[in-house]
């Protein structure tokens, strides 16, 4: 049997083999370490949200969202609500009567529901299917009341555009990206002193 003699240049000695193997092992280890660090420090997925303390009720959330009706909805923070008989988020500034007639309601789509509780208290809730995010009720509630109505981007509707079309036109730049794990920005009584 003829054994072909190896070329001296291509032959690998045991020492070289071990040395090469060690280099590969170190490189692989560093790769795994770097990957682990990268995974730990990677930015969390974010979503768009409105800071309710910056919102100026400009109405653009209703008109500038790529969705119609908008993904922005009014939400009700019940612990802050005064359950007022004359709710300035529900009634026009000087209503004819304090009843549920459309002429007396501030909401252009009738999305706020009013339910009598113990006299003289009423509960107000938002029908999100009807809400267009115009913030008319938010302004009324904030100027005169406790500010329990405020706008939030609802993530069951928002398509999380790379560039939010409302954020582009938002006068006070109240729309920002927040971690998807904490997608809502709430108001609180404590913050208001």
């Amino acid at each position: 049997m003829n054994c072909e003699k190896k070329d001296a240049n291509t032959a690998t000695s045991r020492r070289e083999f071990i040395s090469e193997g060690a280099r590969i092992a170190v490189a692989a280890g560093l790769g795994v370490l770097a990957g682990g660090v990268a995974a730990r420090t990677a930015p969390e997925t974010t979503v768009w949200q409105i800071d309710p303390y910056l919102c100026t009720w400009c109405g653009k959330c209703a008109t500038d969202c790529v969705l119609q009706p908008s993904a922005v909805k009014c939400v009700q923070m019940y612990p802050m609500c005064g359950y007022c008989r004359l709710c300035t988020g529900y009634f026009e500034p000087d209503p004819v009567r304090l009843d549920t007639a459309a002429e007396n309601q501030v909401c252009p789509t009738g999305a706020i529901k009013r339910k009598a509780l113990e006299d003289p208290y009423y509960e107000y809730s938002i029908d999100e299917k009807l809400c267009i995010g115009c913030a008319k009720c938010v302004k009324g509630c904030t100027l005169f009341g406790n500010g329990s109505f405020f706008l939030q981007i609802r993530h069951d509707r928002c398509v999380n555009c790379n560039e939010c079309s409302i954020a582009v036109v938002c006068p006070p730049q109240a729309i920002k990206r927040v971690p998807a794990s904490q997608p809502y920005l709430f108001k609180s009584r404590e913050r208001q002193g």
């Binding site: 009720c137 904030t142 002193g193």
Partner: protein, 347 residues
């Protein structure tokens, strides 16, 4: 050569007439445009605007007071004021109660352990300050003499008054006025819903409930959720209630007003509102008389209504106190200013 038709010829007189008319029209056009602009109300670009602009204008004929002086509050977050027996102003602020003389110059101040939310001074010079859920008592030099236990859980004492040996504490958290003796012992609860006594009950959607004692011995209690002022005897019988909800100048605006009250030496009422910041005077029986200061007197609050420096109505409030001369001191909480209002001459 053919002559031009007669109708196309323009005489020198005709040319001058036409030229004058065109020049006059051109000169008048900008004036008319300006007049039209001035007459038209400012248009909001927001088709969904909650529009209260028309309610911010007050008939100048109704404004019977003018600003005599304006001072900066000595401490941040000044909430309430009271006038002591010596005529000094006592201002409840964040961590401090400050004393000013009638010229607005600081006299003295002393520390309190937190946000002072109401203040009252007894005829013998003791100072009672509300620290949200309890009352602390200080001597005239600011030495703390006592700290009373909260009268009930969820107490939020937003108004104080002193008469004789009685301290009245308006608790917006529990919707009641506590009648206490000088040691802090609760003697009675006033203003609670009671069908048998025909008392509808106090409604305080936000932490604004105020109390003052009149020279006639009747306690004045604001009932902001019912847009009224109620008068009670010392035993808690409801004698009179007046006020109606309305953005109009003679009513109380928004969801919950008036937020605070003061009494003039002749027994008339001074009321303060939030939302539409207004200070007004009502007769002893509650008939609207005049305006002390309308929304235009409180630019910081109006600025807040555009969304800037917004504080959700809780800080954008007013308080008032009347001195022995019938002058009215107004505390503008958002601006951190004191306004001394005097009656206009000749009105």
């Amino acid at each position: 050569m053919k002559s031009k038709p007669e109708q196309n010829n323009i005489s020198r007189r005709g040319f001058l007439k036409a030229g004058t008319a065109v020049a006059a029209a051109a000169a008048a056009a900008p004036l008319m445009a300006n007049a039209a602009t001035a007459a038209a109300p400012p248009q909001s670009s927001n088709q969904f605007d909650y529009d209260i602009e028309r309610f911010k204008k007050v008939d100048p004929q109704l404004i019977k007071y003018e600003v005599a002086a304006r001072f900066k509050c000595p401490r941040n977050d000044s909430r309430r004021l009271a006038i002591g027996p010596d005529g000094a102003l006592y201002i409840a602020a964040s961590g401090w109660v400050s004393l000013l003389n009638a010229d607005g110059r600081p006299l003295h101040e002393f520390e309190v352990a937190g946000q002072a939310r109401a203040v009252a001074v007894s005829p013998d010079g003791l100072v009672y300050a509300s620290l949200r859920d309890h009352i602390e008592v200080f001597d005239a030099n600011g030495k703390r003499l006592a700290s009373w236990a909260p009268p009930q859980s969820k107490a939020w004492i937003s108004g104080l008054a002193v008469s004789g040996e009685t301290i009245w504490a308006a608790d917006s958290g529990n919707r009641v006025v506590w009648r206490c003796d000088r040691s802090g012992k609760v003697i009675a609860r006033i203003g609670e819903k009671n069908k048998d006594r025909n008392i509808p009950g106090l409604v305080a959607p936000s932490p604004h409930l105020d109390v003052k004692m009149g020279a006639d011995g009747l306690l004045r209690v604001t009932n902001p959720g019912r847009h009224s002022v109620e008068l009670y005897t010392e035993k808690g019988d409801l004698e009179l209630a007046w006020g109606r909800p309305s953005m109009a100048i003679d009513g109380f605006c928004g969801c919950c007003n008036p937020i605070s009250i003061a009494l003039l030496p002749d027994g008339r009422h001074v009321t303060c509102e939030k939302g539409l910041p207004r200070v007004k005077i009502y007769s002893e029986k509650g008939v609207f008389e005049s305006v002390v200061a309308g929304p235009e007197s409180f630019p910081a609050s109006l600025q807040a209504q555009t969304g800037a420096h917004k504080s959700d109505g809780l800080l954008a409030g007013l308080d008032a106190a009347a001195d022995a001369q019938g002058r009215i001191w107004i505390l503008d909480q958002l601006a951190g200013e004191l306004l001394l209002m005097r009656r206009k001459t000749g009105v």
